[in-house]
C-alpha cells in the first residue's frame, strides 16, 4: 500500500506540529528568560512544562471576535490559508531518510512555492480586518516577504549548485557523498539564508509587520482566540520549515556530524556520536528525576516524573535502535534533523533578544542593496569554484576558500558603500527643507 505510509506521516505531522510549536514557544520563553536574567514560565507544571497546553486550551475556548466592518468570509478564511500553506510545506521536508511524506523531484521548489503562498493568509487577513493597523502590517509583511524571498532563493541556489538536484533527499545524499555539509562549501550562502529566513518569517529584528511599539500587532490585530492561534501556529510552523530547509541544504539534513565515518556499534572512537542521542536523553531524563522531589506540589512531582520517564523511554529507543540496522538510520536521522532545526531556531531566538528593530527603509535597503547583490556574488562564486574544482581539478579547499574571500570582500565593499550613501543622505536633509 504505497499511499498509506505518506498519509500516516501526514497525520502524524498535523497532530504533532501544534504540540511542537507550543513547546517551541515554551522554549523561546525559557531562552528569553534566561537571556534576560529571569525564570520565565514556572507556574503551569514544573518549570512551566504544561504551559503550552494551558495556552492552547485558553486560546481554543476564547471568544472569536469578528469585527463588524470586516469582510466576513475572507476574514474567516485567511488564517486557514496561512496555516494550510505552512503545513503543506512539510510534505517535502525530509525528517530522516525514511520519514518524508513525498520525495518530490522538485522538492525544494515545492516548499518555496508553497511557503510563498502563505503571504496570502497575511495580506488577506490584514485587508479583511478593515483596520489601519492590520492593513499596514499586512502591507509591510507582503513587501518584506517578497523582497527577502529573492535573497533567500538566491542563497539556496548556491547549495543547489553543489548538490545538483532539487530533490531534498538527494541534496542530503549529495552532502553525504561530498564528505562535508554544504555550509563548509558555501558559508556565505548559509548566512544570507539565515538572515533572509528570519526576515521571511517576520521575526525580530525584522518583525516590523507586528512591531508592537508601532503597529500594535500588525495583521493579527483584529484576530482573537482560535483564529489568532492559527496564525500563531502558521508562524511557528514556517519557522520550522525555514529551519528545515537550511538544515537540509546546508547542515547536512539528517546526517550525523562526521557522517562519512560509517559503522555502527562502538567500533571507533568516532562512534561515540552514535551514542550521543542516548546520552542527551538520559541526561534530560535524569535531570527531570533529580528535580522531581524538589517540586512544591504533588502533581508537579508526578508531571516531572512522567517527563523523566518519557525521556528515558526515548533514550532506550535510541539505544535499542543501535542494534537494529534497519531502524537505526530513520530514528537517529530524525533525531539529528530535529536537533539541527532546534539549533537553527536557537539562532532565531538569540537574534531576537539581542537586536533592536530595523526601520522599514533600512530593512528594504538591507534586503535589496546588501543581501541580494551578495547572494548573486555568492552564487557566481560557488559556480566558479565548482568549475575550478571539477574541470580544472583544483583542491576543494582552495577553490571554496577563494570564493569565500571574494564574497567577503564584496560584502565589505557593499557595507562601506551603504555607509557612505547613508552619510550623504544624512548630510543632505540636515539643512532642513
Amino acid at each position: 500500500m504505497p499511499y498509506l505510509l505518506p498519509v500516516f506521516y501526514g497525520i502524524v505531522i498535523v497532530l504533532v506540529l501544534p504540540l511542537l510549536a507550543g513547546y517551541i514557544v515554551l522554549l523561546e520563553r525559557k531562552v528569553m528568560a534566561d537571556m534576560q536574567a529571569r525564570l520565565g514560565p514556572m507556574r503551569v507544571g514544573p518549570h512551566g512544562l504544561l504551559q503550552p497546553i494551558a495556552d492552547a486550551l485558553k486560546l481554543l475556548i476564547k471568544e472569536g471576535i469578528i469585527p463588524a466592518q470586516a469582510d466576513r468570509w475572507i476574514f474567516l478564511a485567511a488564517p486557514l490559508v496561512s496555516v494550510t500553506m505552512a503545513l503543506l510545506a512539510y510534505a517535502a521536508l525530509p525528517f530522516g531518510p525514511v520519514f518524508q511524506i513525498a520525495d518530490l523531484d522538485i522538492g525544494l521548489l515545492f516548499i518555496l512555492a508553497i511557503s510563498s503562498l502563505g503571504v496570502y493568509g497575511i495580506v488577506l487577513g490584514g485587508w479583511a480586518s478593515n483596520s489601519h493597523f492590520s492593513l499596514l502590517g499586512a502591507m509591510r509583511s507582503a513587501a518584506q516577504l517578497v523582497s527577502y524571498e529573492t535573497a533567500a532563493g538566491l542563497a539556496l541556489v548556491s547549495a543547489l549548485l553543489l548538490g545538483g538536484s532539487l530533490s531534498m533527499k538527494s541534496l542530503v545524499e549529495a552532502q553525504d557523498q561530498a564528505g562535508a555539509w554544504f555550509i563548509f562549501f558555501a558559508p556565505c550562502g548559509f548566512f544570507i539564508y539565515l538572515v533572509a529566513s528570519i526576515a521571511e518569517t517576520n521575526r525580530a529584528p525584522f518583525d516590523l509587520p507586528e512591531a508592537e511599539s508601532e503597529l500594535v500587532a500588525g495583521y493579527m490585530t483584529e484576530y482573537s482566540g482560535f483564529r489568532w492561534s492559527l496564525y500563531f501556529l502558521a508562524e511557528y510552523a514556517n519557522m520550522i520549515v525555514v529551519a528545515g530547509i537550511a538544515t537540509t541544504l546546508f547542515l547536512g539534513g539528517w546526517l550525523r556530524p562526521l557522517a562519512s565515518f560509517h559503522g555502527h556499534i562502538l567500533g571507533t572512537p568516532i562512534e561515540i556520536l552514535d551514542i550521543f542521542p542516548v546520552i542527551v536523553f538520559l541526561g534530560i531524563g535524569g535531570y527531570c528525576f533529580w528535580r522531581a522531589p524538589r517540586q512544591p506540589v504533588q502533581i508537579q512531582k508526578l508531571v516531572m516524573v512522567l517527563f523523566g520517564g518519557l525521556f528515558l523511554v526515548l533514550a532506550m529507543v535510541m539505544f535499542g535502535s543501535l542494534f537494529v540496522p534497519a531502524a537505526m538510520p530513520g530514528i537517529h536521522g530524525a533525531f539529528w534533523f530535529i536537533a539541527k532545526v532546534l539549533v537553527y531556531l536557537y539562532a532565531f531566538l538569540w537574534f531576537r533578544f539581542t537586536f533592536p528593530r530595523y526601520r522599514f527603509d533600512q530593512l528594504m535597503k538591507l534586503g535589496w542593496q546588501f543581501l541580494i547583490p551578495l547572494a548573486l556574488t555568492n552564487v557566481l562564486g560557488v559556480g566558479v569554484a565548482q568549475v575550478l574544482r571539477q574541470q580544472l581539478g583544483w583542491n576543494a579547499f582552495a577553490a571554496f576558500g577563494l570564493t569565500l574571500l571574494a564574497t567577503m570582500g564584496v560584502a565589505a565593499w557593499l557595507i562601506t558603500l551603504g555607509d557612505r550613501r547613508d552619510r550623504l543622505a544624512a548630510a543632505a536633509p540636515a539643512g532642513g527643507d
Binding site: 536574567a37 525580530a204 512591531a211 508592537e212 533578544f353 528593530r357 522599514f360 533600512q362
Partner: protein, 380 residues
C-alpha cells in the same frame, strides 16, 4: 480621540495617489508614548511635516494643591510629578523651601541627599534606557536595567520605607538616619554597576541596527536647544556643557569631582551616549561620597511650624531630565502663596516638534523616547 493610525507605505509618494498630507494621531493610548501623551503628526508620505503634542491628560493641579497645604504637607506631592525620579523632586523642593527660610541642611544631610539623588539619577536613566531600547525593538536591555534599578529601589526602601514615591528628605535635612550597612550596600552597588553599564553598552553602543536607528535622528542644534530652553542631557548632547551641579552647586556637589559629558551632534545617539556617561559619573560621585559621610546632625533647627518671611525664591537642581526649578512665593503664612514648578520634561517636550520635523514616522517613537519625558511631570 480615536487611535487611528494612518500611514502610507514607503516608496509610494502620496502625490501619485492624489492624497496630500495625512494627519496621523498617536496616543494618548499608545504603547510607546510613555504614558498619556498624544501626538498629532502631519505627514507627507512617510515624512513628518509638522507635529503637535497634546498634553494635559494627567493634569492634577499640583500647583493649586500647594496653595492649600502647609510647606511640609506639600512635600510628598512633588514626588508624584516625576515619579521615576521622586528623590530628585524632593531634593529640589526641600532646598527651595530651605532657601526661602534662610536655613541650610547640615553637611551630613547634604551628603546623604547627594548620594540618594545620584542613585535616583541612575535609576531614572535606567528606566529611560530600558524603555527607549524597547521602543526601538531591543527586548533585553529593559530587563537588565530594571534588575539594577531594583537594587537602587531596595536601598531606598531600606532607607525610607518607600520605593517609588519616596518622600526621602524633609525640609531642613533628613527624617531618618542612614540604616546599618547603608554605606556597604551603596558601595557594592556602585562597584558592580560599572560592569553592568558595560553590559548595556555591549548590547547597544556599537550595534549597527541601534546606531542606524538613532544616529542622525531627531537632531537638535545647540542654538535651537538654548532657544527652546532645553536642559539636562538633551542640552548636553547638543554640545552645551552646562550642568547645574557644576554651574550653581547645591547639596554637596561642590565636594566631589565629576565630569559633564557632552556630545557634538545632538542626535538621538548622542543623547544615548551622554546619558550612559552620566550614569558612570553618578556612580563615581556616589563612590566618592560614600567614602566619607561626615558625622553630625541630620536636621537643621528650623522649628515645627514653618513660617518663611514674605518674599520669593527660585531654586533649581539638575534633575535626571533637566533643570527642575521651584519658584516659591511666601506671604509669611504657613502655606506657600504660590508654588511654581519648572518641569524639565514639559519644556524639553516642546522641542519635540523641532526634532521630529522632516524625520520618518518610525523615528517618532525613537524621538519621544530620547527626550525622556514623564507625563506626570509634563502635565503636573
Amino acid at each position: 480621540m480615536t487611535d487611528t493610525h494612518i500611514e502610507r507605505v514607503p516608496g509610494v509618494s502620496s502625490t501619485v495617489l492624489g492624497a496630500d498630507e495625512i494627519i496621523l494621531n498617536m496616543g494618548p493610548q499608545h504603547p510607546s508614548t510613555h504614558g498619556v501623551l498624544r501626538v498629532k503628526l502631519k505627514l507627507d508620505g512617510e515624512r513628518v511635516v509638522e507635529s503637535e503634542c497634546i498634553i494635559g491628560y494627567l493634569h492634577r493641579g499640583v500647583e493649586k494643591i500647594a496653595e492649600h497645604r502647609s510647606y511640609q504637607q506639600f512635600a510628598p506631592y512633588v514626588d508624584r510629578m516625576d515619579y521615576v525620579a521622586a528623590v530628585s523632586n524632593g531634593l529640589g523642593y526641600c532646598e527651595a523651601v530651605e532657601k526661602l527660610l534662610g536655613a541650610e541642611a547640615p553637611i551630613r544631610a547634604r551628603v546623604v541627599r547627594t548620594i540618594l539623588t545620584e542613585l535616583q539619577r541612575i535609576a531614572s536613566h535606567l528606566v529611560w534606557l530600558g524603555t527607549h531600547a524597547l521602543d526601538i525593538g531591543a527586548l533585553t536591555p529593559v530587563f537588565y536595567c530594571f534588575r539594577e534599578r531594583e537594587e537602587i529601589l531596595k536601598i531606598f526602601e531600606k532607607y525610607c520605607g518607600a520605593r517609588l514615591t519616596t518622600h526621602a528628605f524633609r525640609i531642613g535635612g533628613l527624617q531618618y538616619e542612614t540604616y546599618d550597612g547603608f554605606e556597604e550596600e551603596v558601595k557594592r552597588f556602585c562597584v558592580d554597576f560599572e560592569h553592568k553599564i558595560d553590559e548595556y553598552s555591549t548590547l547597544l553602543t556599537e550595534n549597527r541596527i541601534w546606531v542606524g536607528r538613532t544616529k542622525g535622528v531627531g537632531i537638535l542644534s545647540a542654538e535651537d536647544a538654548i532657544a527652546l530652553g532645553v536642559s539636562g542631557p538633551v542640552l548636553r548632547a547638543s554640545g552645551v556643557a552646562w550642568d547645574i551641579r557644576k554651574a550653581m552647586p547645591y547639596a554637596a556637589y561642590d565636594l566631589y569631582k565629576f565630569e559633564i559629558p557632552t556630545a557634538p551632534s545632538g542626535d538621538t545617539y548622542d543623547r544615548y551616549i551622554v546619558r550612559m556617561e552620566e550614569m558612570r559619573q553618578s556612580r563615581l560621585i556616589c563612590l566618592q561620597a560614600i567614602e566619607n559621610i561626615p558625622a553630625g546632625p541630620i536636621m537643621a533647627r528650623i522649628g515645627k511650624v514653618l513660617k518663611p518671611p514674605p518674599g520669593e525664591v527660585y531654586h533649581s537642581i539638575e534633575a535626571p531630565k533637566g533643570e527642575l526649578g521651584y519658584y516659591i512665593v511666601s506671604d509669611g503664612s504657613t502655606q506657600p502663596y504660590r508654588v511654581r514648578v519648572r518641569p524639565p520634561s514639559f519644556i524639553n517636550l516642546q522641542a519635540f516638534d523641532r526634532m521630529a520635523r522632516g524625520s520618518l514616522v518610525a523615528d517618532v517613537v525613537a524621538i519621544i523616547g530620547t527626550i525622556d519625558i514623564v507625563l506626570g511631570e509634563v502635565d503636573r
